[in-house]
């Protein structure tokens, strides 16, 4: 250091000390970052909390930058996202970071809760830490949902629609809740403004408040020690033993215990950047316009399991899925530290906890997989854009070919595939002639059944005849049409068509 620098340095030190004497920053630093933790807690399993905080910080930063361009109006929102994607330098990257940051946050919150649950960290005296964490989970999911609405594309539109439909079923106050959420009885110009206010003001504010409480509780009640099988939690002795452990075997979180957190957060940041760079942002898809029927609206990843659960549950059980199950889940989650307050912490002595985690992950994982892969919507363009494979055309008589045209023209292909091509809401029809006989097919077409609407009012008798003739012809070569078991010989006689190939037909 040169002599010339010295007065500046000493001035800076003086200013710093002046600030320190008034704010006592060193004391605050020691009490927070430097708070003592058990040595055993410096574990890779204990890094999920700080990773969640990193995700939230990234969401705040990228969210502020997005808000500089995003216009929260029904007319402008979609356009401002296109501007970010295609014109604003690195706007797409910003969107991608915000999108993947959101997905990562939900996943890591789940991992964090799983670890806390399996390691018994919710037990005495950390009940309130757990409860604030549960509320933070719900707030994170709410942020994720309101965030997908910001895209204001078809996913957002139908997502709000489903959200409103669920809210509308709340007993007594359903209509009022829908009105409050949407700014009216239906999705309109006020809806996006309301969700924007929730997404950027109300929910982040609530998260900041709850995170502050959560961290305050972590400092006050200490980081959970790495549990040892056989060591029980007793309300009367736990805190004394914990303090003794800190005294004998503790170390400050910064600098001694933070190493693994830094590495884990670094890896997470790289993963998020990689996802943003290599996969990119989501959408915007088709604009939020109910007239655009060719859309397969799906929610973002965190809600796909809910989509498939709602779609798979039997008709009439919506109230159970949307109200009874969540109520039980909330009671169980919030009540957990009271139901299981003391005793063993280590998961190896709590087999039920392992079972609960496995069942939860399997259920959510499989439902999410079904949500991604399942054919939840008809393929609305299949009738005009999906050709029929040659093997389902050759050898058909003129009337059967008219039936094939009806299968397209009446948009049956939107729900039914033939030869694996077309919609998949209903069964594939490639071999329907071997499964169902002519009277059964006529009845099904006219009256519907299962999830299929009745077409009796929209088809003429001749159209039904032609369509069913074609359906009867859809069966493997050298197989007879499906028989009526009661009168097999008659069924065989009335069933027309043979699955012939290459015959001269036309017409």
């Amino acid at each position: 250091m040169s002599a010339k620098d010295r007065p500046i340095t000493s001035s800076l030190v003086n200013i710093a000390m002046w600030v320190e004497r008034r704010l006592h920053l060193v004391k605050i630093w020691k009490a927070t970052a430097g708070h003592p933790i058990p040595k055993s807690s410096a574990s890779w399993f204990y890094t999920f909390g700080s990773m969640t905080l990193l995700c939230f910080t990234i969401q705040i930063l990228t969210g502020i930058l997005l808000a500089l361009v995003y216009v929260p109006s029904a007319n402008e929102a979609y356009r401002s996202l296109l501007f970010l994607n295609y014109q604003q330098e690195l706007g797409w990257f910003l969107r991608a970071m915000h999108y993947w940051g959101s997905n990562c946050m939900v996943v890591i919150v789940f991992f964090h809760m799983t670890q806390v649950f399996l390691w018994g960290a919710y037990k005495h005296p950390r009940e309130l830490t757990w409860i604030s964490g549960v509320v933070l989970l719900f707030l994170t999911l709410a942020l994720s949902f309101t965030g997908q609405v910001m895209r204001f594309d078809s996913d957002a539109y139908w997502g709000i629609g489903i959200g409103a439909a669920i809210s509308g079923r709340i007993p007594i106050i359903g209509a009022q809740v829908v009105n409050l959420l949407l700014g009216g009885p239906i999705i309109g110009s006020d809806t996006l403004s309301r969700f924007f206010a929730l997404h950027v003001f109300v929910l982040p504010g609530a998260v900041i408040a709850l995170v502050s409480l959560h961290l305050r509780l972590v400092l006050l009640k200490g980081i959970n020690e790495y549990p040892t099988p056989g060591i029980q939690v007793h309300k009367g002795t736990y805190w004394r033993n914990y303090e003794e452990m800190l005294h004998k075997d503790g170390m400050p979180f910064v600098p001694n215990g933070i190493g693994k957190d830094l590495v884990a957060n670094g890896v997470l940041l790289l993963v998020m950047v990689a996802l943003a760079v290599f996969v990119g942002p989501k959408g915007p898809e088709i604009p939020a316009d109910p007239a655009q029927v060719i859309s397969e609206a799906k929610p973002d990843y965190p809600f796909l399991w809910l989509l498939s659960a709602a779609a798979l549950l039997p008709n009439g059980s919506e109230v159970i899925l949307f109200f009874v199950v969540p109520l039980i889940a909330v009671i169980l989650l919030i009540g957990l530290p009271f139901f299981s307050n003391v005793g063993e912490k280590h998961y190896s002595r709590r087999p039920v906890s392992i079972l609960v985690v496995m069942l939860t992950y399997l259920t959510i994982g499989l439902l999410t997989y079904a949500g991604i892969t399942g054919p939840w919507s008809p393929r609305m363009e299949a009738w005009s854009g999906t050709p029929t494979k040659p093997q389902f055309i050759t050898g058909r008589s003129p009337v059967e070919l008219q039936g094939a045209l009806l299968l397209q023209g009446k948009q049956c292909r939107n729900c039914h595939s033939v030869g694996g091509e077309g919609g998949q809401r209903g069964p594939d029809l490639s071999a329907v002639g071997a499964r169902m006989n002519q009277p059964q097919l006529i009845r099904q077409v006219i009256q519907g059944g299962g999830n299929m609407p009745a077409y009796g009012n929209t088809l003429t008798p001749q159209e039904v005849n032609a369509l069913v003739s074609y359906l009867v012809s859809l069966r493997p070569i050298n197989t007879i049409p499906a028989l009526n078991p009661a009168i097999p010989e008659k069924a065989e006689r009335v069933s027309s068509g043979e699955p012939t190939k290459g015959a001269k037909t036309g017409g």
Binding site: L90, F93, V279, S384, T386, S397, P398, Q408, A503, K504
Partner: protein
């Protein structure tokens, strides 16, 4: 010092990677951007999304007549094709496509479709000698029965009821679903891809004349029970025995 150099390379390299490279896989591509259906101007895309479900592009088979079909295109006037796409054919599975008539395609898109379809025939034009007119009045059903017996019965049976493995032409449901014009067009151009030849080949060395075609269509129409597609029973009774110059499905 070495570590600092490494960090600098990583930092500036990473920033350069993000800022300078337009080929990052996550960057949204212009071609993936959603466009309103009215902005689609590509013939192949328009055909594949609107027509391909029923009409072949010549590469495979289809339930209705292939559009990549020079003999067919030699018979059907362009303006009829345009009108058919615009307004559809009432009573059949050919829907309205023009946005002026409640469909989804703009005038420009209909023109692109018509031009694209006729471009398929360029360089492969079918012979036009002896070509019967696309549309004509119905002929004499009695004479048509004899023409049918001579030209069509080998495949469709003497009464049109079909032979083993070959379809009947007088199925009541079939006749009630196709217009007279459709019958006429199919008699003229056939469905070669399905084994049905055109008017030149039914009787070897003797192309079917326009009059014979009108007669045979008349006989087929006489076997229909009830009105033709798009006609009410009353209209069918008082309608002149001419074929409308609307098109086939």
């Amino acid at each position: 010092m070495q570590a600092r150099t490494l960090y600098s390379i990583l930092l500036f390299g990473g920033l350069g990677f993000l800022c300078g490279c337009d080929r990052l896989p996550g960057k949204p591509k212009e071609e993936d951007r959603w466009k309103p259906p009215s902005e689609i101007k590509d013939f192949a895309l328009l055909f594949n999304t609107n027509c391909r479900g029923c009409h072949s592009n010549g590469q495979t088979l289809s339930a209705s007549i292939s559009m990549n079909n020079p003999p067919y295109l030699a018979v059907v006037p362009k303006e009829v094709m345009h009108k058919t796409i615009e307004t559809g054919i009432p009573g059949t599975q050919m829907p309205t496509y023009s946005d002026k008539a409640g469909g989804s395609l703009t005038e420009e898109q209909v023109n692109i479709l018509v031009e694209g379809i006729y471009n398929w025939a360029k360089g492969h034009e079918a012979p036009t000698d002896n070509l019967p007119p696309y549309s004509a009045a119905l002929g004499d059903a009695e004479r048509g029965k004899a023409v049918f017996a001579q030209a069509c019965a080998s495949c469709h049976g003497s009464g049109g009821e079909g032979t083993k493995g070959k379809g009947g032409a007088v199925d009541k449901a079939y006749l009630s679903l196709v217009s007279d014009q459709y019958l006429r067009t199919v008699v003229i151009v056939g469905r070669p891809e399905l084994g049905m030849p055109g008017f030149r080949e039914y009787v070897p060395g003797k192309p079917m004349t326009g009059e014979e075609i009108s007669d045979v269509v008349s006989w087929l129409a006489s076997r229909r029970e009830g009105p033709a597609p798009g006609q009410s029973a009353k209209t069918a009774e008082i309608a002149p025995k001419t074929q409308p110059s609307t098109p086939n499905e």
